[in-house]
C-alpha cells in the first residue's frame, strides 16, 4: 500500500498516486530473485521495461487464435489478423492523439529515425517530383542537440555524409538543460530538420519543445521528436506537440521488443519516398518499375510484427487504465524522493537537473572514487538492476567530464522501497571500496 510516513532523515515520502503492490503483482518477473535469493529491484526501465501479464497474454492470444499475415489472403484468419492489427494501430494512435493513418510501425525508435533520415536522402534521387519535396542536399543543415541518444545523432550524421548537408547542434548548460541562447542562429533558413529528444535518457531533462518547434517552423524546417523516454512516462499529444514526427519504442512502455512507432503528420508522410521496399508497400509492380502505396503502408514493407503490435496495444491499454497523468505524478514523486536520498550521501553527484522541475525519472550519478561499473556491480550483488556506462549518449558524459555514470530509472512498479534499496546499495559500495 501507499506509504505516507516521512522518515526523520529528511527525504519526503508524499503519497504515491499508483498502488505499487497491486501493480507489481501484474509483472511476473518481479517475483523472481537474483544473485542467490535477493529480491529483484528493477531500476533499469529506461533501457527496457518489464512486461505485465496483460501484454504477454495479448501476444499469446494472437498466436493461439488469429495468427495470419495481415493485409494478405482472404481467409478468415487473415481477415481477423488484419482486423486486430489495424485495431491496435487505432488504439496506439489514440494514445498520442493521432489518427491511425499517421501511425507507422517500425522495429523500434532507432529504425523509425533511420526511416525518416533515409527518406530524406532518398528524396533527392526520387523520380516522383512530389517525393523530392523534403530532399536534403549540399548547403542544407540538420540540427540536433548535444543530449541526444546515439539513435537520434548517428543517423543524422550519416544523412549529412550521404548528402553533403551540414550537421549543427544545440549545446548544454552546466545544470543539464538545453542551451537555447543560440537557437535563432543554429536553426536558420538553411535548416531542413531539427531532431530533438523530449526527455533525455541520461539527464532526465524534459526539453522546452514549444520554443524549438516554433523556431523550426518559422524557418520552414521539419521537427522530429524522440519520444522514446517521454511517451512511456508522460501524456503526449501530437497536436499539442506541434512537431512533424514523433518516434518511440514499444519495449520501453511495457510492450514487447521488436515494435516501435513513427508518427508523422499525414501531409508530410505523404510526400516522403519509402525507406525499406518490398511486399505490401506497393501500389502497382511491373518489371520496369513500381509505384507505392499511400502512408502508412508505404513505410511497412514485408509481413509486419503483428503479435508485437497487438502486445503494444495491450501495453497502451494498461497504461491508460492507470492514467498517464498519474504515471507522470508517480514518477515525479519518486524522482523528488530519490534526488533527496542521493543528496544525503556524501560523494554522490547527480548529473542533470537537481530538482523535479521539467525533469523525468532518469537519474544519472557518480560516486566519488568508485567507477560506475563497480557501483553497478555492488548494486547487482544486492539484487538492484541499474544501467552503467555512457547510456548511448557518449557526448553527454564527455560534456560533463565524467567517463560514465550509474543510472537509475523508474516506472509504474517502482516504490520508495526500491529507492531506499538503491541508497543503501550505494552506501554499501562506498564501504566495500573503502571510500568513506
Amino acid at each position: 500500500m501507499t506509504q505516507t510516513v516521512s522518515r526523520p532523515d529528511g527525504a519526503q515520502q508524499v503519497p504515491l498516486p499508483l498502488d505499487v503492490e497491486a501493480i507489481r503483482a501484474d509483472f511476473p518477473i518481479l517475483s523472481r530473485t537474483v544473485r542467490d535469493g535477493k529480491k529483484l529491484v528493477y531500476l533499469d526501465s529506461g533501457a527496457t521495461s518489464q512486461k505485465p501479464r496483460a501484454v504477454l497474454d495479448a501476444e499469446r492470444w494472437f498466436y493461439e487464435n488469429v495468427n495470419a499475415a495481415p493485409h494478405r489472403g482472404a481467409h478468415q484468419l487473415a481477415e481477423e489478423a488484419t482486423g486486430a492489427y489495424e485495431a491496435a494501430r487505432a488504439t496506439i494512435g489514440a494514445f498520442i492523439g493521432a489518427p491511425e493513418r499517421e501511425i507507422v510501425f517500425t522495429r523500434n525508435t532507432t529504425e523509425a529515425i533511420n526511416l525518416v533520415a533515409y527518406a530524406l536522402s532518398n528524396a533527392a534521387t526520387s523520380k516522383e517530383p512530389e517525393f523530392r519535396t523534403y530532399a536534403v542536399g549540399q548547403g542544407d543543415e540538420i540540427v540536433v542537440t548535444e543530449m541526444e541518444h546515439h539513435a537520434n545523432l548517428v543517423p543524422w550524421q550519416q544523412l549529412c555524409e550521404r548528402t553533403g548537408a551540414t550537421l549543427r547542434w544545440l549545446g548544454l548548460t552546466d545544470d543539464g538543460r538545453l542551451d537555447l541562447s543560440d537557437l535563432a542562429t543554429v536553426v536558420n533558413e538553411r535548416t531542413k530538420l531539427v531532431a530533438v529528444t523530449q526527455q533525455s535518457n541520461i539527464l532526465g531533462t524534459i526539453n522546452p519543445l514549444g520554443e524549438i518547434v516554433a523556431r523550426a517552423h518559422k524557418v520552414g524546417a521539419l521537427v522530429l521528436v524522440d519520444g522514446a523516454q517521454s511517451v512511456p512516462h508522460q501524456r503526449v499529444d501530437v497536436t499539442e506537440l506541434g512537431a512533424d514526427f514523433l518516434v518511440f519504442s514499444g519495449h520501453k512502455m511495457l510492450g514487447p521488443t521488436g515494435v516501435g512507432v513513427l508518427w508523422g503528420r499525414y501531409d508530410v508522410l505523404d510526400k516522403l519516398p519509402p525507406f525499406l521496399t518490398g511486399g505490401s508497400m506497393i501500389e502497382v509492380v511491373r518489371m520496369e518499375g513500381s509505384t507505392f502505396a499511400a502512408p502508412p503502408q508505404r513505410f511497412e514493407a514485408g509481413v509486419p510484427m503483428s503479435a508485437q503490435v497487438i502486445g503494444l496495444a495491450a501495453a497502451v491499454e494498461y497504461l491508460q487504465a492507470l492514467g498517464m497523468d498519474r504515471v507522470e505524478e508517480h514518477e515525479k514523486a519518486l524522482t523528488g524522493y530519490a534526488l533527496e536520498k542521493l543528496a544525503e550521501i556524501p560523494g554522490v553527484t547527480v548529473i542533470g537537473p537537481p530538482d523535479t522541475v521539467a525533469r523525468g525519472g532518469a537519474i544519472s550519478f557518480t560516486v566519488e572514487g568508485i567507477h560506475p561499473h563497480d557501483v553497478g556491480q555492488v548494486l547487482d550483488d544486492h539484487g538492484i538492476a541499474v544501467r552503467v556506462g555512457h547510456h548511448c549518449a557518449w557526448p553527454v558524459v564527455r560534456r560533463y567530464g565524467v567517463p560514465a555514470t550509474t543510472r537509475a530509472t523508474f516506472y509504474v512498479h517502482t516504490g520508495y522501497d526500491d529507492i531506499d534499496a538503491l541508497a543503501d546499495g550505494i552506501r554499501a559500495a562506498q564501504k566495500f571500496f573503502g571510500t568513506v
Binding site: 546515439h150 567507477h371 561499473h373 563497480d374 556491480q377 550483488d381 552503467v388 556506462g389 558524459v397 567517463p403
Partner: protein, 167 residues
C-alpha cells in the same frame, strides 16, 4: 555476498596503486583501445629491445577491473619475450572463458602470477571485456611494433579496437 570472489584484494591493490602507469619514451608502437559498451579506455605504448619487452607504458580510465588488469599485465610481461607475453595473453583469455571454474585458475597460476586473481571475473560475462581490454591492446601493439621493426617507415597509429570498434 559474492563480490569478494571477483574483487580479490590483489585486484583492488593494483587498482589503487597501479604499477608502471604513465606514458613513456621510447616506444615502437602506441595503440588506443576502448570498450564501447562502457567507455573504458587505454592508451598503451610498447618498447621492445630485440624480442624482449623493455617497457609497457600506459594511461587509461575505467573501472577497477580494467585498470587493475593493465597493472597486473605490466608486472607479468615486463622482461619477457613478445612470444611469451602473447602466450600469457592466451592463458588469460582461457582464464576469462572458465565461467568461474577454479581448476582452470589452479592450472594457470604459475604462468599468470597476480593476473590469476581475475579468475572470479569469468563468472560475470559483462565484466570480461573490462579485464581483457589491456591484453587486446598489448597484442595489437606487439603486432605493430614487430611490423615497425621490419618496416621502419611505419609510425604509431590509433587503430579501431578489436574489442568492439569505436562507438
Amino acid at each position: 555476498m559474492q563480490l569478494e570472489s571477483m574483487y580479490q584484494e590483489i585486484i583492488l591493490d593494483h587498482y589503487k596503486n597501479p604499477h608502471g602507469r604513465g606514458l613513456r619514451d621510447p616506444f615502437e608502437a602506441e595503440v588506443h583501445h576502448v570498450n564501447p559498451t562502457c567507455g573504458d579506455e587505454v592508451t598503451l605504448r610498447l618498447h621492445l629491445e630485440g624480442e624482449t619487452i623493455a617497457d609497457v607504458s600506459y594511461e587509461g580510465m575505467g573501472c577497477s577491473i580494467s585498470q587493475a588488469s593493465i597493472s597486473a599485465m605490466y608486472d607479468l610481461v615486463l622482461g619477457k619475450s613478445v612470444h611469451e607475453a602473447l602466450a600469457a595473453g592466451e592463458d588469460f583469455v582461457t582464464l576469462m572463458q572458465a565461467k568461474g571454474d577454479l581448476t582452470v585458475a589452479e592450472k594457470l597460476e604459475d604462468t599468470l602470477e597476480d593476473a590469476v586473481a581475475f579468475a572470479g571475473v569469468s563468472k560475470y560475462p559483462a565484466r570480461i571485456k573490462c579485464a581483457l581490454m589491456s591484453w587486446m591492446a598489448l597484442k595489437d601493439a606487439s603486432a605493430r611494433a614487430l611490423s615497425t621493426q621490419s618496416t621502419p617507415a611505419l609510425s604509431a597509429t590509433h587503430p579501431t579496437a578489436p574489442t568492439g570498434g569505436t562507438a
